[in-house]
Amino acid sequence: MSQSVLLQALVYLAAAVLFVPLAKRFGLGSVLGYLLAGMVIGPAVLGLVGEEGQDVMHVAEFGVVIMLFLVGLELEPALLWKLRTPILGLGGLQVVVTSLALAGLAMVAGIEWKPALALGLILAMSSTAIVLQTYKEQNQLGTPAGQGTFSVLLFQDIAVIPILAILPLLAMQPAAAGEAAAADHNLLASAPGWLRALALVLAVVSVVVLGKYGMRPIFRLVARSGLREVFIATALLLVGGVALLMELVGLSPALGAFVAGVVLATSEYKHEIESDIDPFKGLLLGLFFMSVGAAIDFGLIRENPLLIAGAVLAIMLVKTAVLLVLGQRFTGNRAQNVTLALGLSQIGEFAFVLLSFTNQNGILDQRITSIATAVVAISMALTPLVFLLNERVIQPRLGPPAAPEREADAIEEKNPVIIAGFGRYGNIVGRFLRANDIGTTVLDFDADRVETLRQLGLRVYYGDASRYDLLHAAGASQAKVIIIALDSSERALELVELVRRHFPHLRILVRAHDRPDAYGFIEAGLTDVYRETVDSSLRLGVDALRLLGVRAYHAQRAARTFLRHDELAMRELAAVHKDRKTYFSTARQRIQELEQLLHFDAANENLREVDEGWDNESLRQEAPPAPSAPTAPQTPVV
């Protein structure tokens, strides 16, 4: 038994390891890789996994739960409030209009209105897992299309609850065995309505309260123990617990996890939780996609090829058309709107859940359910291809403004100074320049930081400064100066190359993390290189000298002399820093010189920087000899 579990795990892992990198290599994205891996190991091709695929899918749904938790973590309540219009407007309209349209289509196909409406509601869902994962990989969540997509998906996740409530009303025949199966997951399935509503409210409130007041002390305690794996376990426990609680009261576990994530979004452990459970999300989602791939019933498809192909095509067209009409007002851009509409054209994983629910409750018959399941799986498998089609074929044809594959913020201002990187260094420079009425265009690659800075009321644009189009949009051709304060010196050097090649008129001022970094920049031919610690270290040194009784002006000038010589020595050493022997001998020599210089050695004639004008030994020597000691007043000798 345990051996077979291990064997299964090996099959899944091997398939993932084999197919996902291959898919990525061909530019297909990881989701398609997982789906292909699933199809190959599934009953259709190798048959390595069979019926158990269903069980695996159930476990793997936890990946979707974790994903929504992580999405929630990144959305602070304030941001969510800002998105309320697209969530309710675009998301709500999409669910209603798409459901009705698809129901109509089903009725045309000869299905009665009740099951048709049920089908419409089920098929209106889109795949949170695939779409969000793809957008995340392509870094597109911040674009208008990304925001709209997210809003629609979020609304769908919320809509699952009322849909689960409505579906039983559409039953054609009384539920038989279904009731018991549903009760497995939902303790309150048979409880009266008011009790269910109360439990629902209680569950959500307890998640919010626990997240806000309970989890922080627990995380603090666990973090203090220093055991990383326990921290990870705590995070997983939290997600799992919330998911289970939600399932017990009949809510979507993914939605519960999302709420928990939002509640923790302002917590100081946000980033730690995020990075700790992110790998689990990836693996579980992968497992989920593989089980979808494995679950595709190729036998059924072979029997009804035209019916299924037609259904997939018709449904995806209807879903796209609805969003093409609805989305225009929300994205305000044709290219973005097409991305939004096509991106959500598939049917989502919630459909599997809803289909098995409707089947159990006798709303849809077995044949429709199986065909619909195949349709859902195929439409999900087609999604990565639709993304590719949109990206490679459709978007380029929509002409300008061609949406870059990683849309950055639109930048409206043109300023004389561009600052790349607004971390602890860049932001001081930027604030100083702004305080002096110098316009600065700030680019930063850290989305969190951008968000925080915006909340502080600073204008900061999210984007990768080492991309030509973004730099161009930031006004690099009109600007005079670019200040590079990126955290990584490799990226800074890339940016230097880019600026040199495309905007040679820009004066480059670069922050160097330390001396080796500085050598790299000097070697690249930059003259304005600023080591971030030098000036503040010297200020501290000056204060130390003063505390030890050295006069302030003297201490200050000593620091300036030191800095001047250190800069000279650095430039000299940059030329030889790769030759360790010369480097060390030169460095030793410069250090010695500098120390001598600051020793105020009167005998050292080469070093004139020191106060010769103010304290001149030569003047003393040349001065006429002091009058001989005044003769002591005559005192009577007694």
Partner: protein
């Protein structure tokens, strides 16, 4: 042709009306070097070596500055303290500047009448500039009558233009060695365009 070094010092040049125009009028002359001290040494950290080389390379030194508190802005004083070293500019072996000429080019807020023994400032410009004159003497230099623009607070644009033109003409006289002509033009009546 004598080369002229203008040691220019104005701590708030961006607010200056007169000095900016005066400098603009002469900096294009090819025998003139303008050494903007506040631009060069914003932290008063004077490069003595560079300054001495500059002095050696010119025959006439113009200390050009607004007349603050009957003297120069602080950086000119710092420059004197550090650059005019004993044994180099003065003293038994200090002959580096011997024979060169020095003068002040100044702007004053007050009118010329104020700089009279009977005026509110109680001393004439020449009397107030005595420390500079004596500094030049100690360095074995010839001290020339100053170029003064009075009443810089109220002066009109046309008057500034006239003063700038005159500054340019006088420097040209000095560069071409017409020191006597320069001196007669300057003494005893100082430029007073603002009346």
């Amino acid at each position: 042709m004598a080369r002229i070094l203008i040691q220019f010092a104005h701590p708030a040049l961006e607010k200056s009306r007169v000095n900016r125009r005066l400098i603009a009028a002469v900096e294009s002359l090819d025998f003139v070097t303008v050494n903007d001290l506040y631009e060069q040494y914003p932290d008063f950290d004077i490069d003595v070596h560079r300054e001495q080389e500059l002095l050696l390379a010119h025959e006439v030194v113009v200390l050009h500055h607004p007349f603050y508190w009957y003297s120069s802005p602080a950086l000119i004083k710092q420059w004197e303290d550090l650059v005019l070293e004993h044994g180099w500019a003065y003293g038994r072996t200090g002959n580096a500047l011997a024979g060169k000429q020095m003068l002040n080019a100044i702007t004053t807020g007050g009118k010329q009448e104020a700089y009279q023994e009977t005026g509110s400032n109680r001393y004439t410009i020449q009397q107030l500039l005595a420390p500079f004159e004596q500094t030049a003497r100690l360095c074995k230099m010839q001290y020339l009558p100053p170029f003064v623009v009075h009443g810089s607070l109220r002066i009109t644009d046309a008057e500034i233009d006239a003063a700038a033109l005159r500054y340019r003409e006088l420097l040209t006289l000095l560069a071409t060695g017409q020191v006597t002509e320069y001196a007669t033009l300057q003494t005893p009546v100082l430029t007073d365009l603002a009346n």
